[in-house]
């Protein structure tokens, strides 16, 4: 068992339709492919493949919750659920946070692309309203509160899925 968690997957094919990425997800061979669009969240997945963590926030002054000073959403949303107006994209620079909670996954369901065992972690990042679910590259014992930094699978390594974001212990 290596110290670092690996993926057992091949990068998914992406179709660019206008600004949107459409993920090709073969279920029953080529003819049985599902074409799943990332829609307005495409900048997030493009960002991961380029090594950048992109989040959204509401800047609408009439938002009843954030009054124009929204916290970040990760996963991002294109529209604010509180005022229904489009949110703005922001890059989270050098994303670091701490482990809010976690589990050690011994075995996953059919098709799991992450090599078990691994830590699935929920990460609290400063300025982010939500708590991000991801996985940890390290296998050594961890506890709630341990600090982590975001890492990315980029370029030829990119899977074009949420697996392109992972964390490592600081």
């Amino acid at each position: 068992m290596s110290e670092r968690v690996k993926l057992n997957t091949t990068p998914s094919k992406i179709d660019a339709v206008g600004d949107a990425w459409v993920l090709n997800f073969p279920r029953f061979g080529a003819e049985g492919t599902h074409f799943h669009t990332y829609g307005l969240l495409t900048p997030y997945f493009k960002g991961l493949a380029e090594g950048r963590l992109m989040a959204t926030r509401c800047t609408h002054p009439k938002c009843p919750v954030y009054h124009g000073k929204g916290e970040l959403w990760l996963p991002p949303r294109a529209d604010c659920p509180d005022c229904h107006q489009p949110m703005e994209w922001t890059e989270v620079k050098q994303p670091e946070g701490y482990i809010y909670t976690f589990t050690y996954v011994e075995r996953g369901g059919t098709g799991l692309e992450i090599e078990t065992p691994y830590y699935q972690i929920d990460v609290k990042l400063p300025g982010v309203a939500t708590i991000v679910k991801s996985y940890l590259a390290d296998r050594r014992p961890i506890k709630i509160g341990d600090r982590v930094r975001a890492r990315f699978r980029t370029g030829a390594e990119a899977t074009h899925t949420c697996l392109d974001l992972y964390f490592e212990l600081i």
């Binding site: 969240l41 919750v65 589990t103 075995r107 996953g108 369901g109 799991l112 709630i144």
Partner: protein, 471 residues
């Protein structure tokens, strides 16, 4: 939404009361090759019509039905779209209207809610609520992937493809935040699987110990194998009626109240909220909890609690006039798909304050016979054996829970669980150490139906409606 508008907290007000008069069920098995799905539905339907001491002949009762609500969790498990049409046809109910309901693990509960609304509105005087699930067409770990399709496909499913791995982080956060020993969770598994030993319907009864649970195989740390429910096959059916019809059919109907709630599909998207208070709670009760959350970077409902369950209980308690849950409820059925979801729910429904959930276990009040006092527990939980011990054929589950509560209120636990012939019907032998789990003179019981990591929940309250039981 994290702040309610003035209209959002309106308590449901039905046009007329709704009664539950009969219940039927199959037994539950991990694999059930002996019967097709519609044949299982017929078993439940027939038991409902034929074995509930109704005052009319089964076919005469069938002749009163106006509407059918069907619960099925997942088309991909059944590998059949419009399964509702097949079942409806098989039960001989065409040309009556039916509707399929799908809200994940809470499908059974929401099917009860939809069925109740047809009676409450006057659309129907007599509604069949029937649910099923057939999870044995695929191997267990493919089944786990199918279930994990009920996590967010963009951001979560790929991170485990197994639902236990979405509950395990909740278990860890809960135990650290509230200082809960793992033995508390293990005790829940021992209790519910032990109660399942008294049920001829149960799928995985067992005499276990806390030590055995904790030393067992880990599914997703900290959750052990015996803390998780299993794939399940079976069907359950309930009959809901108007008041006039209920008393024509039985002298022992139960009044039904049921309400729903929701929360985000992804646990991490639950932004901090103020706790909507139940009738017996005050803001002062939670000053310490808010202070504690500040220290621990916590939030409500966060990873510890279920906002959907609290919202449903907020409504259902007010509909039913429940003031102090531990005093006013005589039994509960929680959605113990995992030990942790059972434990978390006690705070949501007000059996304890939030943060004190473990007291419900350690006080012994969750047992039929409180091991601390030797007396009947104040609010025995999951006497049916729950999801851990008896069944989680998902579309049937919320209906099954209400059915077990109905039979308890009617004093029929022994009739359906203690008759050796019922055990023989399912190819089983009644255990020599069988004990009755009938609650003494129960008046009200509650059942929680629960989906995802708390995305959809219903809270049903059934109340004895005869012999001075009616309000």
């Amino acid at each position: 939404m994290i702040e309610f508008g003035p209209g959002n907290l309106r308590v449901p007000k039905w046009s007329r009361p709704v009664y539950m008069v009969a219940f039927g069920t199959t037994d539950y098995r991990k694999r059930y090759p002996e019967k097709k799905l519609d044949e299982l539905a017929m078993m439940a339907f027939r038991m409902m019509l034929e074995e509930n001491d109704l005052k009319l002949d089964p076919l005469a009762v069938k002749g009163l039905i106006n509407f059918c609500a069907y619960g099925e969790f997942a088309d991909h498990f059944q590998d059949q779209l419009l399964c509702e049409a097949k079942v409806h046809d098989y039960l001989g109910l065409n040309l009556l209207p039916n509707v399929g309901v799908k809200t994940g693990g809470a499908t059974g509960g929401y099917t009860m809610l939809v069925g109740a609304n047809t009676v409450a509105s006057g659309y129907s005087d007599c509604t069949l609520v029937l649910g099923w699930e057939r999870m044995d067409e695929v191997k267990t770990w493919t089944g786990n992937y199918y279930i994990a399709s009920a996590a967010c496909k963009d951001f979560e499913t790929r991170l485990a493809r197994n639902y236990a791995s979405y509950y395990a982080p909740m278990a860890r956060r809960f135990q650290e935040m509230y200082g809960v020993s793992e033995e508390v969770r293990a005790e829940i598994a021992v209790k519910n699987r032990g109660y399942a030993r008294m049920s001829p319907f149960s799928q995985q009864p067992g005499k276990h110990t806390v030590k055995e649970v904790l030393e067992g195989e880990i599914v997703s740390d900290p959750l052990r194998f015996l803390e998780c429910c299993a794939m399940s096959v079976g069907s359950a059916a309930a009959l809901l009626c108007s008041e006039e019809l209920a008393y024509r059919l039985t002298d022992h109907p139960a009044k039904l109240y049921i309400a729903g709630g929701t929360d985000t599909l992804r646990t991490g998207d639950r932004r901090p909220m103020r706790i909507p208070l139940l009738p017996h709670e005050t803001e002062k009760d939670y000053e310490w909890l808010y202070a504690e959350m500040q220290k621990q970077d916590g939030r409500w409902p966060g990873f510890e609690s279920f906002g959907a369950t609290r919202f449903a209980a907020y409504m259902a308690h007010r509909m039913a006039g429940v003031q102090v849950p531990l005093e006013d409820l005589d039994l509960v059925e929680t959605h113990d798909a995992f030990t942790i979801s059972d434990l978390q729910t006690y705070g949501d429904v007000g059996l304890t304050l939030y943060g004190r959930e473990q007291d419900f276990i350690t006080s012994g009040e969750c047992y039929l016979k409180n091991p601390k006092t030797g007396k009947q527990g104040k609010c025995p939980a999951n006497l049916s054996g729950g999801l851990l011990g008896t069944m989680h054929a998902v579309g049937a589950t919320g209906i099954f829970q209400c059915g077990e509560v109905l039979w308890q209120l009617q004093g029929k636990y022994d009739k359906f669980h203690g008759d050796p012939k019922m055990w023989q019907r399912f190819g089983k032998q009644k255990p020599s150490d069988w004990e009755s789990l009938q609650v003494r003179n129960p008046r009200r019981g509650l059942a929680i139906s629960h989906a995802g990591v708390g995305s959809h929940v219903t809270c049903a309250i059934l109340e004895k409606a005869w012999g001075g039981g009616a309000r």
